[in-house]
Symmetry: C2
Subunit: 125 residues, 2 copies
């Protein structure tokens, strides 16, 4: 085994790093929050906390907290209207985060393995 593996310090890692956001994935890592996102995605227009409470079997106070977490992660927008808080999915932000990471990863693989899949090819053993 090579005693000094070549860890590329270059473009590869630099491009990937900004997409490695634990809080974002943590926000996505809970069933109730995923249900909320699905509901937000599947319903036209913005929805209130009480409306959203019906989608996962969680008390509305819990839903309020979940929505805050999603909002803090930049995944949903709030608009206060009277005594309601209307939430809507920021589809673009989420899609960008996910695709950005996918793209960066693949670029990384491509760059570290070399174009001809030589020597230490990472792709499909």
């Amino acid at each position: 085994m090579n005693d000094a593996k070549t860890v590329l310090p270059d473009a590869c890692t630099d491009a990937l790093t900004p997409f490695l956001r634990p809080e974002l994935f943590r926000a996505l890592g809970d069933p109730s929050r995923l249900a909320l996102l699905a509901r937000l995605a599947a319903t036209p227009g913005a929805q209130s906390v009480t409306e959203l409470s019906s989608c996962c079997g969680v008390h509305f106070s819990g839903v309020s907290r979940h929505l805050k977490i999603l909002h803090d992660a930049g995944l949903i927008d709030v608009e206060r209207q009277g005594r309601e808080a209307l939430y809507r999915l920021d589809c673009g932000a989420l899609a960008l985060a996910l695709r950005g990471m996918a793209d960066a990863l693949e670029a990384c693989q491509a760059s570290c393995c070399g174009p001809r899949g030589a020597e230490g090819d990472c792709r499909r053993a």
Copy 2:
């Protein structure tokens, strides 16, 4: 306020659901595990637990556990070789999961908002 919001039961949700995997995002929701993934992505070839231990300041027993979590989520492959366990990123699986969710989300938005951005348009308030 409409008392009965139209929650689309159709293609939209059905296409999104398979990508809503909490364990997957949970696996991605930890800094040490993200560091491991970055390392795996930036280094050609497979790497052993001990090698990987140097990338996040975590005891190798912890790294072993992290790798198991990533593996269970389908993000990395293991190959046992003698007394070593060689891990490599399953870049395709990860990229597919991320892009799949991004695509499904956007399809969802497009379908639930109608093509002309009528009435309850979800896109950019």
